[in-house]
């Protein structure tokens, strides 16, 4: 019989007392990290087992699984407790982070078991981002490895200040204190500049339980605490309450005209009814009228609480803004330096536009300057043009709109952001702000009296950017050239930006790597924008192979001003025409990074104008362009009602 008679041992009062005691326990969130096969999952299994968190049915399942997938002979393979995915059990590795919960009489714990493989570093970072302490495991036979260092650096960047250096599998080196001492010394040397407040080395065997929850007879030379003792007592003070008040507005609660509440979670500090608060981005000040909560208003609320604030007057505040202490305000800037951990298999490219998200704010952002990449082995600062997956670097970032923030070192909640790919929506990177850039504070927009409108009016036209994209040899330049002649003949003021020509001047310093291609397009888009601002009709003739950059260019221009023209000529036809003899050389391997050969071309999905050139003349293409324009009323007086070009 599986259904067992549960015993109601505790009398009612006993339960109440027990629960009251539970409520007073502090919580420690930690992760286990380190290289592959250093025993992370085994250690967590051991912790859960030693703290009696494994139920009978789970133990039975574990025994079944151990026989099927286990790697520990006849013994129970504790790793199978946490490696919950089928692929993980089959391959005997950890792919993604698992969260486990346990408690001792002194503390509650949430532990994140994170993968050791470099390939899954992003999942380690996920587990580390919410942890206060990291157990860095080292296999006593292997010592400090590359992944040990990488994980330690990421833990440090993500703000973890407490480390347990678990020298595991000490049984396999005959409990030799010299091995232990050597690894500890190595690690101390390496981590000297990582800003850790505590590093606690413990010799252990996760598999057999030495120094995990009970002191090992085999390591009489070790006088420190067991792992559990250390985890129960290490002090990771929560300082968020003592920092200045920060309240990122998450949601405006407006059920009716009489109530307008700003809902969010207090990131730091505290707030009381009657306090003065300032809207970070506008600098407008107001007072807290009520702190609304289900079950009655609060007098005061502190960091970590999710509340709703009602202000005294109708100041303008929306999601993404922040209510802050008037005495200590956050920075508001659109340019700042940040540490970036890159997660995506497509490298971070300076100049490419990403979505930047803070806890509640969102804007687009580009990396304007990749200052250096950090070598995880020796901390060397290395020059780099891109950040590959799992690399760490420091970058200057420019956002479209200013955001409110604190340096990450001062405030983990308001100093962090993630980067999201605009097309795939994947989370591609995590950022920690170091400081704002001076120039963001000092360079302001000069407002000019003669505006775009006046300049365009004088030319009797509406500015526009015709963006020709297509493979090399597709006919972009020929069509663009003919098109300009036609426009010119009807009295339009035009300019052609041609890919080859611009590479002779403005972009002569750029090559053909992905990073350089992105920068190439960024510069041309900015020039096209200035020309449109001057009132011109701009024709851009660039291969522009990546949709992300074409989208970035589109977003730079005013609504309706950007016209994407896809010059669609099949690869085989371009290679056959080969006007510059480039395809022959690229197919021969003489030219690297050639679009369509060994560098991708991402065709537009929804171009404004789609020109299929096969079997048609350049004149016919220009006719099609003119037809498109006529349909949208080329007449200059349309500027006023926004009807077209």
């Amino acid at each position: 019989m599986r259904h067992i008679m549960a015993k109601s041992l505790a009398p009612t009062d006993g339960v109440r007392d027990y629960l009251a005691a539970q409520e007073k326990k502090s919580l420690l969130r930690f992760l286990t990290c380190g290289s592959v096969d250093d025993g992370k999952s085994t250690l967590i299994g051991r912790l859960l087992s030693d703290t009696k968190q494994i139920f009978e049915d789970q133990l039975a399942a574990l025994e079944r699984d151990s026989r099927k997938h286990g790697t520990t002979g006849d013994d129970i393979d504790f790793a199978l407790l946490v490696d919950g995915l089928e692929a993980e059990r089959e391959q005997g590795i950890t792919i993604d982070v698992a969260y486990r919960f346990f408690a001792t009489p002194k503390r509650k714990f949430i532990v994140a078991d994170t993968p050791g493989h470099e390939q899954y570093t992003r999942n380690m970072a996920t587990g580390a981002s919410t942890a206060d302490l990291a157990i860095v495991l080292v296999d006593a036979r292997q010592g400090v490895l590359r992944q040990t260092r990488r994980h330690s650096i990421i833990a440090s960047l993500l703000g973890i200040r407490h480390i347990v250096l678990a020298v595991n599998k000490i049984d396999l080196v005959d409990f030799d204190p010299a091995v232990f001492e050597r690894i500890v010394e190595d690690y101390r040397q390496f981590s000297r500049d990582l800003g850790f407040h505590t590093v606690a080395p413990i010799p252990m065997s996760a598999r057999y339980g030495d120094n995990v929850s009970s002191r090992s007879q085999n390591t009489d030379w070790y006088s420190g605490p067991t792992l559990i003792e250390h985890l129960e007592t290490v002090s990771v003070d929560e300082t968020a309450v003592e920092l200045p008040f920060r309240f990122p507005v998450q949601y405006v609660n407006r059920p009716n005209l009489d109530f307008r509440g700003f809902a969010g979670t207090i990131a730091s500090g505290s707030v009381s009814a009657g306090d003065e608060v300032v809207v970070a981005k506008s600098g407008k000040s107001s007072h807290v009228k009520r702190i609304v909560a289900h079950g009655g208003d609060l007098k005061q609320a502190v960091a970590g609480q999710a509340i709703t604030l009602v202000l005294d007057d109708e100041v303008e505040v929306s999601r993404g803004n922040m209510l802050v202490s008037p005495a200590a305000r956050p920075q508001v800037a659109d340019q700042f330096a940040a540490n970036i951990v890159w997660f995506d298999e497509h490298a971070l490219l300076p100049g490419r536009s990403y979505i930047l998200r803070t806890e509640t704010d969102q804007t687009s952002a580009t990396v304007t300057d990749l200052k250096y990449r950090i070598n995880v082995n020796d901390f060397a600062h290395e020059a780099a043009k891109s950040l590959e997956m799992n690399e760490v670097g420091i970058c200057n970032i420019s956002t479209r709109a200013p955001i409110a923030f604190d340096p990450f070192a001062e405030n983990r909640a308001t100093g962090a952001f993630i980067l999201i790919d605009r097309i795939s929506n994947a989370t591609v990177g995590a950022g920690m702000i170091v400081h704002s850039l001076r120039r963001a504070e000092n360079i302001h927009w000069q407002s000019l009296d003669v505006g775009k409108r006046v300049r365009a009016d004088m030319k009797n036209q509406r500015p526009a950017v015709f963006w020709f994209t297509g493979l090399s040899g597709s006919g972009k330049s020929t069509i663009a050239n003919l098109f300009e002649k036609k426009l010119f003949a009807t009295g339009r003021h035009t300019y052609i930006l041609d890919g080859d020509n611009v590479r002779h001047g403005l972009n002569r310093d750029l090559g053909f790597t992905d990073a350089d291609r992105v920068e190439n397009i960024r510069r041309v888009a900015e020039v096209a924008k200035l020309m449109a601002d001057a009132g011109l009709i701009v024709i851009v003739s660039f291969i522009s192979p990546f949709s992300a950059e074409r989208r970035m260019a589109r977003e730079l221009m005013a609504d309706g001003e950007f016209i994407e023209v896809f010059v669609d000529t099949p690869f085989e036809e371009c290679a056959r025409r080969d006007p510059k003899g480039l395809y022959a050389r690229a197919l021969n391997g003489e030219i690297k990074n050639f679009t369509g050969v060994d560098s991708p071309y991402e065709a537009p999905e929804k171009p404004e104008i789609h020109l299929k050139t096969l079997g048609r003349s350049a004149e016919e293409m220009v006719d099609a362009l003119e037809h498109w324009l006529n349909e949208r009323d080329i007449a200059e007086d349309q500027y006023d009602n926004g009807g077209g070009i």
Partner: protein, 301 residues
């Protein structure tokens, strides 16, 4: 010095934060309401998150038509009392084919009446985010899941390729047809749930409390004979026993435990000395190793 938050206060704040994030960032969210204790807590938190307003999304119950009668009564009573917008979806194809746990087994029944039904409902209404009450401590594939868990347009979960989830910054961006499953109770344990129910006095289905009920011993479990659709096998007898449920699902698939715990305190006391996990009473988890992950990949909550 201001006192730090208690454990439950912290969990509550985290859940409320998650609710608000979804309301702010998605156009058509829904809360999956399964009537169990976790759903009761979830509902309570949703009411708190948007107070004084009502939650700005409907509640959806996917009814397999095999739930305990007391669950359905409780559901309708709560909807009326709290005034939330309740949608009930039944897979009519499954009803027409008379899919049931007795003839088709738990696997097929759960797949058709729960997983497929849920996908039907999500497609029908075009929801872009769906709250569920799953907790990471329940089961080991759940321990791996993000709080904001991405689903492609076919509702499929790809556990080997989850989005990183950093700090409290959630990536809420999706393309047309894709959706996010959101789990505000991710970091709660079974004990936290009961403790919170006790502290906040949250109403739960009476089936959680011990009472004499007509049960049948079958396949090592005590099954409540909730209606006449359950036919006795040779040798089986219906007995009135003092039982209660740790977890609630379809009645033919949910085992009762013998217990005299008829108050919340007694339930917690019993839980503290329990030697088996709560999902032990769920037949669907035992079909095969990794069965929860399979169901989840197909779209089960």
């Amino acid at each position: 010095m201001i006192s730090a938050l208690t454990h439950l206060q912290r969990l509550e704040a985290e859940s409320i934060h998650i609710f608000r994030e979804v309301a702010a960032a998605f156009t058509k969210p829904v809360m999956l309401y399964s009537v169990g204790k976790d759903s009761s807590v979830l509902m309570h938190l949703a009411m708190k998150a948007f107070y004084p307003a009502k939650p700005p999304f409907p509640f959806l119950h996917v009814d397999t038509t095999w739930k305990f009668r007391e669950m359905i009564a409780f559901r309708d009573q709560m909807a009326q009392k709290l005034g939330f917008d309740l949608l009930v979806h039944v897979n009519e194809d499954g009803v027409r084919d008379n899919i049931n746990p007795f003839d088709h087994g738990s696997n097929t029944h759960t797949h058709v009446m729960k997983t497929v039904a849920l996908r039907q409902a999500l497609d029908k209404y075009g929801f872009d985010a769906a709250f569920g009450g799953a907790r990471r401590d329940e089961e080991k594939s759940r321990a791996k899941e993000r709080i904001f868990s991405f689903r492609n347009a076919q509702h499929v979960w790809d556990p080997k390729n989850q989005r990183p989830e950093m700090w409290r910054i959630f990536n809420t961006r999706i393309a047309q047809g894709e959706s996010i499953r959101v789990f505000p109770l991710s970091n709660w344990t079974e004990l936290d749930i009961w403790q919170y129910i006790l502290q906040e006095n949250i109403p739960i289905v009476p089936l959680y409390f011990a009472k004499k009920r007509p049960v049948v011993e079958r396949d090592g479990m005590l099954i409540l004979k909730d209606d006449d659709r359950m036919k006795l096998r040779p040798g089986e007898v219906v007995e009135d026993r003092l039982v209660r449920f740790r977890t609630l699902g379809c009645y033919p698939l949910t085992g009762a435990i013998e217990s005299d715990a008829d108050t919340l305190e007694a339930i917690v006391g019993e839980m503290l000395t329990a030697r088996t996990s709560e999902r032990q009473g769920r037949l669907i988890d035992r079909d095969e190793a990794g069965s929860m992950e399979k169901k989840k990949r197909e779209g089960y909550f």
